[in-house]
C-alpha cells in the first residue's frame, strides 16, 4: 500500500515520539546516576551539571556488584535452559501428537500466568524453607524455569506448528525415532524460534524481582536484589539507586541490543513469512 508523504511524516513523528517516551526513564536514570545526591533531588531538575563517578564508587564499596551479576547470569541461564529442556519435548508432543485435551492443557498452562505470584508466595516459601532451597541459586533456577515454562511452551508450540508434519513423517520413514526426529529435524528447522524463545526467557529471568527478593537474601541474590538493597529505610538516595540500577540493567540492555535482530525475527516468525 502506497502512503502519502504527510502520512509517512506523521507516522515517523509518532514512532519517534513513542520511542522517546519509552526511552526517557532509562535516559533519566543514567543521567541521575552521574549526579551528586543533592543534584539528583534538585528542583527544577538539572539537565546541565558536572558529571561525577562518586555514586558508582560508593555503590561498589557497599556491595560486591560482580557477585550479584554472576548470580544473575547463573540463575537466568540456568532457569532458561531448564525451561527449554522441559518445554522442547512438551511442545513437541502437543504440536505433533495432540489429543482432544491438548488445547485445554495449553490454555490451562497460560492461565497460571494470570494468577498474581504473591498468591502462592506463602506455600512456596514454606516449601523452599523445608527443602533448604531458600537463598540458593538452584532454588531460584527452579522457580524461574517454572515461571517461564507456560510462555516458553506456548512460543515453541507456535513455532513447531509451522513445521509441515510430512517432513517429520519422512524422517520417521527414514528410521528416525522420537529423539532423532527432534534433534535432527525439528530443532534445526525451528532454530530461530527456539533461539528467540530462549532469549526472551533470559530477559524475563534477568528482570524478575518478586521471587528473588522474597526467596534470597545474600548468597544467591541476583542484581534485582542488589538494586533493591539501595532503597533503604534511611531514605532514598536517588543518585546511588540510579547508579545501582544502571549497572544492573546494563548487561541485559547490551545483550538485548546485540540480539534484537534475532528477537524480532523470532517474535514475528509466523506473522510475516
Amino acid at each position: 500500500m502506497e502512503k502519502s508523504l504527510t502520512q509517512r511524516i506523521l507516522i515517523t513523528i509518532l514512532g519517534w515520539g513513542v520511542a522517546l517516551l519509552l526511552f526517557f526513564p532509562i535516559f533519566w536514570m543514567v543521567l541521575t546516576s552521574f549526579k551528586t545526591e543533592a543534584g539528583a533531588i534538585a528542583t527544577p531538575p538539572q539537565l546541565i551539571f558536572s558529571p561525577t563517578w562518586s555514586s558508582y564508587v560508593e555503590v561498589q564499596e557497599r556491595a560486591n556488584y560482580l557477585r550479584f551479576a554472576l548470580n544473575s547470569v547463573i540463575i537466568s541461564v540456568g532457569g532458561s535452559v531448564l525451561a527449554l529442556a522441559f518445554a522442547i519435548p512438551a511442545a513437541y508432543s502437543m504440536a505433533f501428537h495432540p489429543t482432544p485435551r491438548t488445547r485445554g492443557t495449553l490454555l490451562w498452562m497460560l492461565s497460571t500466568k494470570m494468577l498474581p505470584p504473591v498468591g502462592v508466595l506463602v506455600p512456596i516459601y514454606l516449601l523452599f524453607r523445608n527443602l533448604g532451597l531458600l537463598d540458593t541459586q538452584f532454588g531460584l533456577i527452579i522457580i524461574y524455569a517454572l515461571m517461564n515454562l507456560p510462555i516458553v511452551v506456548w512460543m515453541l508450540f507456535t513455532f513447531y506448528k509451522e513445521v509441515p508434519l510430512e517432513i517429520l513423517e519422512a524422517g520417521r520413514m527414514d528410521g528416525a525415532r522420537t529423539w532423532s526426529e527432534v534433534w535432527f529435524l525439528l530443532l534445526p528447522l525451528t532454530l530461530p524460534g527456539v533461539a528467540s524463545t530462549g532469549l526472551l526467557s533470559l530477559i524475563l529471568c534477568w528482570n524478575e524481582a518478586f521471587w528473588s527478593l522474597n526467596l534470597t537474601s545474600s548468597a544467591a541474590a541476583p542484581l534485582t536484589t542488589f538494586i533493591a538493597s539501595f532503597s533503604s529505610p534511611e531514605g532514598l538516595f536517588f543518585a546511588k539507586l540510579s547508579a545501582a540500577s544502571t549497572v544492573a540493567v546494563a548487561p541485559i540492555l547490551i545483550f538485548g541490543w546485540l540480539s534484537q535482530r534475532q528477537l524480532v525475527r523470532g517474535l514475528t516468525f509466523g506473522a510475516v513469512k
Binding site: 513423517e169 519422512a170 524422517g171 520417521r172 520413514m173 527414514d174 528410521g175 528416525a176 525415532r177 529435524l185
Partner: protein
C-alpha cells in the same frame, strides 16, 4: 521376498470408519496401485502400511511377520510423499543419506550409496544444493532417491506426481516404471489418476468409501469391471451407461432393446437375470461407431477434436447422452443426424444391484486367472 499382506484391515476415527475391512496380497516385486476418488481411503491405507496411522483392527504382515505394533522407523519401508517432504535444511546429499546416517552407516559407504542412487536419477550435479534451489521435478527425484538409497523392502508412493505439470508427469511415469524394473522392488503406489494406474500397475486396487471394489490387472479392470463403480471409474472418456430392460436371456447372452426395433445380444452369463428386469447397459465410447445401418439413431450435439481421436457427444432418440470415440479424421459435424453401431460383444451388463454379469468369453488380452 518382500510381500505385504492385509487381513481385514480397519481404521476408525472415533465413530467414523475410514477403512472398512480390507484383504489384499501384494506379491514380491509387484507394482500395486491403489486408485479411487478423493476420500476413498487410499492414502489412509498406504499410511497404515507405512506405520504413520494406527491400525484399528485386522492384521498387517510384511514378509509374513505381523507388524501392526512396529513403528514406521522399524518396518523397513520407504515412502515418497506428495509434497516431497524433503528436509529443507539439508543438502541433496544429506537428504538422501539421512536414513543411512541414522542407521550409523560409515560416511564412505554412505557417500557411495548416495552417489549410486544419484546416478540412477541423474542427480549428481545437484548433490550439494538445498531443496529450495531445485525445480519441482528435481525435488521429486530427490524424494525418490531418498527412498532408493535405503534399499527398502517396499516402496510406498503417495500421489508422488500430482504436483508436477503434465509433461513432467508423463516423463516421471516412464522413469518410475523403469526404476521398478531396474530395482526389482515391491512398490505400492497411490493415485487418483487412472492413466498412472493403467500404465504402471501390475495390479490395480480400486477403492471406494474404505472398501475394495475390485482387484485386478489394468486390462482386467478395463475389460471386465466387476461393478458399475469400477466400470465408471476406469476408462476415459467414461463408459456410457444406459438404463434398460432385459428383453430376453438365455445361454447365448442377454438381449436388450437399445432403441425401437434395435435389439442387441450381449454375450454374458444370464445368472439371475430374467426378462423384464431392470439392468444397466455399459458401452465404452470406442465400442460405438458411426454406421449407416447402426441400431441406434440420434443427433450429434458436440464434437471434440483431440487430434488423434474425435469424441462425438450424441443424444439418442430416447434423449440419452452418449459419448462416441472415433478417429481423428472423422468429418462428422455438430447437429448432424447419426446412426451408431454397437459392438455387442464389448458391452457390459450390470444387474440392478450394480454387479456385472460375467462375460462368456475372456478378452484376449486378459490372462485367465490361474486355477
Amino acid at each position: 521376498m518382500a510381500t505385504v499382506t492385509l487381513r481385514g484391515l480397519r481404521k476408525s476415527y472415533g465413530p467414523v470408519e475410514a477403512i472398512k475391512g480390507i484383504d489384499l496380497d501384494v506379491a514380491d516385486r509387484e507394482f500395486v496401485v491403489f486408485v479411487g476418488p478423493s476420500g476413498c481411503g487410499k492414502s489412509t491405507l498406504l499410511r497404515m502400511i507405512a506405520g504413520l496411522e494406527q491400525i484399528t483392527s485386522g492384521d498387517l504382515l510384511i514378509e509374513g511377520a505381523r507388524v501392526n505394533d512396529v513403528g514406521p522407523a522399524d518396518r523397513g519401508l520407504a515412502m515418497v510423499f506428495q509434497s516431497y517432504a524433503l528436509y529443507p535444511h539439508m543438502t541433496v546429499r544429506q537428504n538422501m543419506g539421512f536414513a543411512l546416517r541414522l542407521a550409523r552407516v560409515p560416511k564412505a559407504e554412505r557417500d557411495r550409496k548416495v552417489e549410486a542412487a544419484a546416478a540412477v536419477l541423474q542427480l549428481q550435479p545437484y548433490l550439494e544444493r538445498t531443496p529450495k534451489e531445485l525445480s519441482g521435478g528435481q525435488r521429486q527425484r530427490v524424494a525418490i532417491g531418498r527412498a532408493i538409497v535405503r534399499q527398502p523392502k517396499v516402496f510406498l508412493f503417495d500421489e508422488p506426481l500430482s504436483n508436477l505439470d503434465a509433461a513432467l508427469r508423463g516423463q516421471m511415469r516412464i522413469e518410475l516404471a523403469r526404476l521398478h524394473e531396474e530395482l526389482q522392488a515391491t512398490m505400492i503406489y497411490v493415485t487418483h489418476d487412472q492413466v498412472e494406474a493403467m500404465t504402471m500397475a501390475d495390479k490395480i486396487v480400486v477403492l471406494q468409501a474404505g472398501r475394495v471394489e475390485q482387484v485386478g490387472s489394468p486390462l482386467e479392470l478395463y475389460h471386465s469391471p466387476a461393478n458399475l463403480f469400477v466400470a465408471g471409474f476406469i476408462g476415459s472418456p467414461r463408459m456410457n451407461m444406459l438404463q434398460s430392460e432385459v428383453a430376453g436371456a438365455d445361454a447365448t447372452g442377454v438381449a436388450i432393446d437399445v432403441g425401437p426395433g434395435a435389439r442387441i445380444v450381449v454375450p454374458v452369463q444370464q445368472g439371475q437375470v430374467r426378462q423384464g428386469d431392470r439392468v444397466t447397459l455399459g458401452i465404452r465410447p470406442e465400442s460405438l461407431a458411426a454406421y449407416d445401418e447402426g441400431q441406434l439413431a440420434g443427433t450429434v450435439r458436440l464434437v471434440e477434436r483431440l487430434g488423434g481421436m474425435t469424441l462425438l457427444h450424441v443424444g439418442t432418440e430416447a434423449d440419452l447422452p452418449l459419448i462416441v470415440q472415433t478417429d481423428g479424421a472423422d468429418v462428422t459435424s455438430a447437429h448432424a443426424p447419426i446412426r451408431l453401431a454397437v459392438d455387442a460383444a464389448a458391452c457390459h451388463v450390470f444387474s440392478a444391484d450394480g454387479l456385472a454379469l460375467p462375460h462368456l468369453a475372456t478378452h484376449r488380452l486378459v490372462a485367465r486367472p490361474e486355477a
